[in-house]
């Protein structure tokens, strides 16, 4: 009856200043990441009337509103592309990112009963809440394919690079998500700050407008937002937008994205030990 388990000794000690990120533990618990993601999706689709179609409705309606107000009325340039597809392409990774911030920031607090009762790598909670967004992304992506047919936009030969930009979006989302979720345990204010932060972030990211609108000398600051690189890269990889050919901004964005991820991991890891006592 004895089940086969890895019989190793664990030493429980007071935390010292620096601890390893312990990603091995995360790997051991990879099935839990899958189950938690699956739970989030399942519950969401069961509880909502529109279910999976929310993944399409939100970016699509935003695109419609943007097209009317920014595209038609304000005549915001769109690098020569049809404005709807121009903005929708940017909204795809943006929705992934924005939703990730919201769900990740709440993930620890919502599952506090798990945290106070049982051990598992805490990082699973924000990460799995973010990964669910990838499924939404896929649904919304199908609509983009339809739009590309409709507007007769041919995918650029660089489409194979799309996963790289998607990865950058996920990395940035996880990085910021880790910060917000850990901070939310300490200060519940984060729950109120996150919507504002997301809104603010929407405007500093070239979604409703092209990155080329920003004067060249300010581009470097503009690129400090990792989502700038993501959105620009999406337009280049999918639509072949020549205004956003590979450029130094992407390097800056990628670098910042990685910095946010690593700092988020370290901060989360440091705070993790207190979660059960604080939450």
């Amino acid at each position: 009856m004895i089940s086969k388990t890895d019989s190793h000794t664990i030493v429980l000690k007071p935390p010292s200043g620096w601890t390893a990120l312990n990603l091995g533990d995360l790997w051991r618990y990879r099935e839990l990441v899958y189950f938690m993601t699956w739970r989030d999706l399942k519950v969401r689709y069961k509880q909502t009337v529109l279910g999976a179609s929310w993944a399409i409705v939100r970016p699509f309606m935003t695109m419609v509103v943007f097209s009317i107000f920014f595209g038609n009325l304000a005549k915001v340039p769109s690098d020569g592309l049809p404005y709807p597809i121009f903005s929708y392409t940017a909204l795809l990774p943006w929705e992934l990112f924005a939703t990730a911030l919201t769900v990740a920031s709440r993930s620890l607090v919502l599952n506090s009963n798990m945290i106070t009762k049982i051990y598992f790598p805490r990082i699973i909670l924000p990460i799995s809440s973010i990964l669910g967004g990838l499924v939404d992304f896929l649904f919304a992506f199908l609509v983009l394919i339809g739009m590309m047919f409709y507007y007769r936009v041919h995918p650029s030969p660089a489409i194979w690079t799309l996963p790289i930009f998607l990865l950058l979006a996920v990395i940035s989302a996880i990085g910021v998500g880790l910060w917000l979720s850990a901070l939310n345990v300490l200060y519940r204010d984060i729950g109120y700050i996150t919507p504002f932060l997301t809104q603010f972030w929407l405007f500093i990211t070239p979604i409703a407008y092209p990155a080329s609108l920003v004067p060249a000398k300010y581009r470097i600051f503009f690129a400090l937002n990792p989502m700038t690189g993501v959105v620009d890269g999406f337009r280049w990889a999918l639509l072949g937008n020549q205004q956003s050919a590979p450029n130094s901004m992407w390097m800056v964005s990628s670098l910042i994205g990685v910095v946010i991820l690593i700092s988020g991991l370290i901060y989360f890891r440091r705070m993790e030990r207190q979660f059960a006592d604080m939450i």
Partner: protein, 420 residues
């Protein structure tokens, strides 16, 4: 055989006093908390008060040993278990754990009401650290044990609480860890469920796994464990064979000459507006005493204050034998006339008294527990081992035979002997 499964060395855990204990915080709390933490930052070295929930605890558990852990509420048992199950980190010392730790204290953790029983089994199993293949293999077993076969594809929000608990326990019970931690699991569920838990516990013990068993139920501790730790105020005060440890705990832990007072720091923060003050046992002469005679009436007195009025308050006692078996439960408003008169008890200082009639208890040691609650509204305060006292049988019926009488009661029955 003498392999060590668990080694604890000088383990200690420190908590900040005034740390939030409640789960739910409001916006206002969050802001004020943030403000105080900002203030603290400004003042610099102003360290908040710290308390040790656990300190200098060292012990070893051999592989396959079933060890009981006893102590009052707040003695540090839960903190110890939380450290051992890796929920929280120790502040000092270390613990070496060999093998997978599972605990029955997290029954149903992560269950989602919208998901079906089947889905929850997989989810909960993964949360408890089971591999997917492991859950697949045991799935039928788990379902059979839980007795909810027909409802396995129904969302658990439609389950009765009994079904929910059975399913949850069933998953946890099939985890089969090398080290099992059981904390007061017997306090939940119906009698049937508790029997099942105890049965599973002894199965696990017989399979040669290591078990740490924490309970207030002395009879369960006595039945299931051979050795026990007594924890008092965060310190390990005794490790001994279970009967000896239980004796020590019952006799020493809480008896101070037939009365007990609750100093302000021993009262949990969430009992307000109810505040226990004293509990006393008085003998037939009305004197406070640890030892009373079975042939005299015994009076028990609970003194408390209410900071504000409580509707439907009932203050009562449990009487238990030293083996942890309940003898009776009685509340001060059991009598309908008193119930009507005290439907709302205004703020103030009170004493609730009752008398256990003469010739009711057998000799031995008895434990009184206190419960102050409003039925189905809230339990303000509960201490299942508030005080203990000894009953001396001198003069009791049948004393001409120097033998112990079985059972907790020793009534003077009205026997008639007739030749027929």
């Amino acid at each position: 055989m003498s392999e060590i499964a668990l080694r604890v060395e000088n383990l200690g855990k420190q908590y900040k006093i005034g740390m939030p204990v409640t789960r739910y915080r409001t916006l206002r709390d969050a802001i004020s908390e943030k403000l105080t933490s900002l203030q603290r930052l400004h003042k610099g070295a102003d360290r908040p008060n710290m308390i040790w929930a656990l300190r200098d605890v060292s012990f070893e558990v051999r592989k396959g040993q079933v060890l009981g852990v006893i102590g009052r509420n707040g003695a540090g048992k839960s903190t110890l278990l939380k450290i051992l199950s890796r929920v929280t980190d120790p502040t000092e010392g270390l613990a070496e754990v060999t093998g997978r730790v599972g605990s029955l204290l997290e029954v149903g953790t992560g269950f989602h009401p919208e998901l079906t029983g089947r889905e929850n089994i997989f989810l909960n199993g993964a949360i408890l650290g089971m591999k997917n293949s492991e859950i697949q293999r045991r799935f039928d077993e788990i379902v059979a044990f839980s007795e909810v076969e027909q409802f396995i594809d129904t969302p658990v929000k439609r389950y009765s609480s009994g079904m929910y608990l059975r399913l949850a326990f069933s998953v946890a019970a099939h985890l089969e860890p090398e080290i099992l931690i059981v904390d007061e699991v017997l306090a939940v569920g119906d009698a049937e469920f508790q029997r099942k838990c105890l049965g599973k516990m002894s199965d696990v013990a017989q399979e040669g796994r290591t078990v740490l068993f924490v309970s207030h139920n002395m009879s369960a501790i006595l039945r299931l464990t051979e050795e026990a730790l007594v924890i008092e105020k965060g310190k390990l005060v005794l490790r001994a064979r279970t009967p000896q440890a239980v004796d020590y705990y019952l006799s020493r832990g809480f008896s101070q000459e037939g009365q007990r007072a609750w100093p302000a720091d021993e009262i949990p923060a969430d009992t307000a507006p109810f505040c226990p003050k004293h509990i006393r046992v008085r003998n037939g002469q009305g004197k406070v005493s640890d030892s009373v005679r079975s042939v005299e009436p015994i009076s028990i007195e609970v003194e408390y204050t209410l900071q504000s009025a409580i509707t439907g308050l009932r203050v009562g006692i449990y009487l238990m034998s030293s083996r942890g078996e309940y003898i009776f439960t009685s509340f001060d408003t059991d009598e309908p006339s008193l119930y009507d008169r005290f439907s709302v008890r205004p703020a103030g200082h009170y004493s609730s008294r009752c008398t256990i009639p003469a010739d009711y208890l057998n000799e031995g040691r008895f434990v009184i527990g206190i419960n102050a609650s409003s039925f189905r509204v809230r339990r303000y305060f509960q201490d299942e081992q508030a005080l203990s006292f000894t009953v001396d049988p001198a003069g009791a019926p049948g004393m001409q035979w120097p033998e112990p009488r079985l059972g907790p009661s020793r009534p003077r029955l009205n026997w008639k002997i007739e030749a027929v």
